[in-house]
Subunit: 347 residues, 4 copies
Amino acid sequence: MIKVGIVGGTGYTGVELLRLLANHSQVEVTVITSRSEKGMRVDEMYPNLRGHYDTLAFSEPDPDTLAACDAVFFATPHGVAHALAGDLLARGTRVIDLSADFRIKDADVWAEWYGQPHGAPELLGEAVYGLPEVNREAIREARLIAVPGCYPTSVQLGLIPLLEAGLIDTSNIIADCKSAVSGAGRGAKVGSLLCEAGESMKAYGASGHRHLPEITQGLDLAAGSAVGLTFVPHLTPMIRGIHSTLYPRLMNFSGSLEDLQTLFEQRYADHPAVDVMPLGSHPETRSVRGTNMCRLALHRPGNGDTLVVLSVIDNLVKGASGQAIQNLNLMFGLDEVAGINAPAMMP
Amino acid sequence: MIKVGIVGGTGYTGVELLRLLANHSQVEVTVITSRSEKGMRVDEMYPNLRGHYDTLAFSEPDPDTLAACDAVFFATPHGVAHALAGDLLARGTRVIDLSADFRIKDADVWAEWYGQPHGAPELLGEAVYGLPEVNREAIREARLIAVPGCYPTSVQLGLIPLLEAGLIDTSNIIADCKSAVSGAGRGAKVGSLLCEAGESMKAYGASGHRHLPEITQGLDLAAGSAVGLTFVPHLTPMIRGIHSTLYPRLMNFSGSLEDLQTLFEQRYADHPAVDVMPLGSHPETRSVRGTNMCRLALHRPGNGDTLVVLSVIDNLVKGASGQAIQNLNLMFGLDEVAGINAPAMMP
Amino acid sequence: MIKVGIVGGTGYTGVELLRLLANHSQVEVTVITSRSEKGMRVDEMYPNLRGHYDTLAFSEPDPDTLAACDAVFFATPHGVAHALAGDLLARGTRVIDLSADFRIKDADVWAEWYGQPHGAPELLGEAVYGLPEVNREAIREARLIAVPGCYPTSVQLGLIPLLEAGLIDTSNIIADCKSAVSGAGRGAKVGSLLCEAGESMKAYGASGHRHLPEITQGLDLAAGSAVGLTFVPHLTPMIRGIHSTLYPRLMNFSGSLEDLQTLFEQRYADHPAVDVMPLGSHPETRSVRGTNMCRLALHRPGNGDTLVVLSVIDNLVKGASGQAIQNLNLMFGLDEVAGINAPAMMP
Amino acid sequence: MIKVGIVGGTGYTGVELLRLLANHSQVEVTVITSRSEKGMRVDEMYPNLRGHYDTLAFSEPDPDTLAACDAVFFATPHGVAHALAGDLLARGTRVIDLSADFRIKDADVWAEWYGQPHGAPELLGEAVYGLPEVNREAIREARLIAVPGCYPTSVQLGLIPLLEAGLIDTSNIIADCKSAVSGAGRGAKVGSLLCEAGESMKAYGASGHRHLPEITQGLDLAAGSAVGLTFVPHLTPMIRGIHSTLYPRLMNFSGSLEDLQTLFEQRYADHPAVDVMPLGSHPETRSVRGTNMCRLALHRPGNGDTLVVLSVIDNLVKGASGQAIQNLNLMFGLDEVAGINAPAMMP
């Protein structure tokens, strides 16, 4: 039984880890921390867990308790993993960080977007970007994982096959992304109220968003050169889900849409968390709700040069906690989708 | 491996059986029928099942194929199970009917509410009402199960302990029930459109609803006498969930609310699909979404005679497909909640 | 042109006053106060008002500016109107208070439910409870109006005809009420987040709620004696609307449902904000969304003694800001529904 | 009083015409037709209209009755206006067609996308495309108006200033559009059910959609040359609203974002139904819900060549019935926004 801890467990990614791990036969959650809720049982805060965690309660973060775990998940605001990861690694505990702390390789870029100095630049070298469809082998050997963000996961999975194959113009790609409200977290913000975010839709951060450097870092690597990306996130009135609509321009390509379909199918043939849907499909976010799956579909309107790639994930699963567990599975030699393989609920 | 068939698999209870059984390690779905969609793969109609049912397709109903199953679920409009159940039973296949065909013991009452003669009155004697919290032993031996309706499940579970103990006035109980829209099924009705049922709420059938005789039949049995029930269902703008608010009047009772809490806890101590929440709780429907759990909570406003019992279920799981599987598990000697024990997703 | 001020204009009842008064040809909003947002234009905070209030901005509350108004609305938390109303009245400005400050006639009862001493008991005598369907003549002459709460409005309008006629058992009435989330206000509370309140339903305050004494005060007056009421509010996943389902027991009544329908129709014949729908109707909350209308419908299941009264309003209009304007209209001799008579939007 | 008729009044654009015209002091609806619902009062079908249309009922379409109107709205499926418009025009009644029948100037293109021959090519010459921000003077003189589609309205208003000024690359513009479910109409389709379209998001028609030729026709006219457009519509879980996110590429432009803002403000200065929001804004669809307003905002991420134009409308108002009334107002010399100038409801 692999013993894991969760730091910062009161938010949506924390409870989602608990939900998913309740179904994971080889993992046991031994500690979960929260300063604000210490002493409260997790199933008191989250009644959906009643009957699944009969004793687990939030506790004050304690280095020794955490270090007794085989792995620790950080489901925290940025900055926290910077402060605690080094010590845990030194004591032999692996770290899977769901925050943005180790996603960006350049500490200066991180500092610019997050408005504070990077707190652990010495760990950046060994941190592995936890996108299994790109870094699976490195993840198996990693001690420190930076779990990708939700938008970055959906955008990268939709573009990487094209970039790796050198088939698109890298100077100007459009990513129009729509997120559910849970992407904003469980914090009590006016903008996330049902009465504010319900029955409405809007863009936000249209002039610049923190996920941009993470996305372009991944796209640059796949392309082997700097990619120009216009990324506009939108808030949509639903609880879970990201729908990314990607508009790459074909270049140096004389093949057919079927050829591109084959390219995608082959690229992900061996990856259980990516589903390339048949030509003509329009994936719905609900088809992946609660699951660790990314579903993709390709369209080529009017048989022109602009390709349309549709990419859907659950922002809290493949976009956060599920992907974190996928990394855990790989790090500990388990089946890659153990505990995260249930089908979505429809309706 | 228990082989099961599903008759009428294109509706919401059908796909929900498929979703839940995908997680059930001891059951295999070998046939699913649909006249209208024959030949279509189930994961083409329901992409959430992609990767879980790689070959299963809808087929024309065929008596021999169905009879080759150990058990057959009917997820059909009323009348279909009447026509087919007898033959299957005769050939040794057990029948678990999710429709209303065998729920009401009196064929005349059935005929009155459903506007047509009962099609198989000879089977009513052996049909077992599949509410495991009442009939668990009979279910273990049964060949033919009438799975309770969604409203009846939530109302009965909230009142039975009080009726069995003789603590309430049986002449006049109020059951104010709120259902999600999936209770109306996957049929294309104007009233179920997002633009009609969204952002609104209404009562329906306030002068009389088909679930009434089923509910009172169960309450009468628990009370040992005829119960007077006012039952008003409401349509609420959500996909899944039933919230029943029950208003029994205490009678012949000099104890405290804590005593009633103990009564409920003891009544359901041995029943894994019922959760009596701590005093002061207000169960949310989302805490049982996608699960086979019924959560109950008791209140006694102003310490008066009117008790308030709150009862929530997922109408498609404990109110339909999950309860059907709970029955299957009991009939075949499996763990009662095998395959239907995952925690709900929150948020 | 009647000049009005709004104290505490940043909440939902404040912006709703602005929306409705933008359509009112005889009223001008000259001042709106907010400590936290002073200096911000109202159409900056609420872009729906762009083009309708080209100069109005939130200002620090100032007694002289407010006193220059013909009437001042209080859209504030409880306690604020206690502090300011007396001075305004002394200076000849009428006060229409949307908070709970003057709704309950007994200062001790108020203090008990609100956990603080009543701040202006000397004004209770002249405060008029602003339910026009009961107090229309008194409202015309009033200087100080206590606008009824949302639940109290919907419950009282559904029961008053029966209580006045002495046709029901007053010892035990059930009011099962379902509210939209905007009833909880614009405050940033976790429980009001789209991800918490969406796709779910729950009761709250089942053991006791602040609106109870206000409701019973009104029912007692109509009945001429103390009424026993069990009131359970519920939170439903929608933005606006209250649906009250009322279960009075007929007593001393040998007539028909049609007689009761006539009773209701006659009681409200002269009241433009109440619509008694035809027998057999199930009013939807969306049919009154954005409007100052209360729609009622009567049912008598099984022709028994339990009557079912369905009552829907928009909690922010007939349950708050619209009713406040209805009072203003009456106080200033205008058409009772001037500015609040547009039909609801469907869908 | 201008007398108007509505052909095909049971759908969402029909009832929306009724709602808006109830507030229009210079227009009276004298006839509304529906074959399927003839004899039913409009306020029986749409209870929100109770008290606003006390006698109006659906009637069988009758040429003489319609010809007695000053103007007739067609809120019908395509093909119906083809059949009836000519006769009405010949008898002196003006026609405002909300369907697609006269939007596309080339009868062959129409036939290709709608799969049937154009039924009234002889009227195409005089039909005026009813986008007042482009064709206001022609509308004033018109007898036959083709009211623009919802997507086309939102896309054209966001791009026309740039195209007219020749500032963008016309070879490749991306329009990523998100629509509420009411865009699919009131027909009972499975895909529009709350349980199918709720809590989910998807693209549709990504390989080609009927609104494309209408949009490009308008863009071509503004640009003076053929425009290459990639248009992907999406279905979002809300009742009303369209959010179009447009990605034009600047070309031959050395100015600033502020210059573009000025360009937009000047272009629409005289147009009451378009609101150019301040720089930095992200318009919400709810800010125009129920109103005839289009709100626009400009962004220029990273000060690069890709511009982001955000454009929101209510698909049933500025995208259909409101714009139809805006045309009526212009045709009859009324204030352009008479009856369609109320602010949106927030929340």
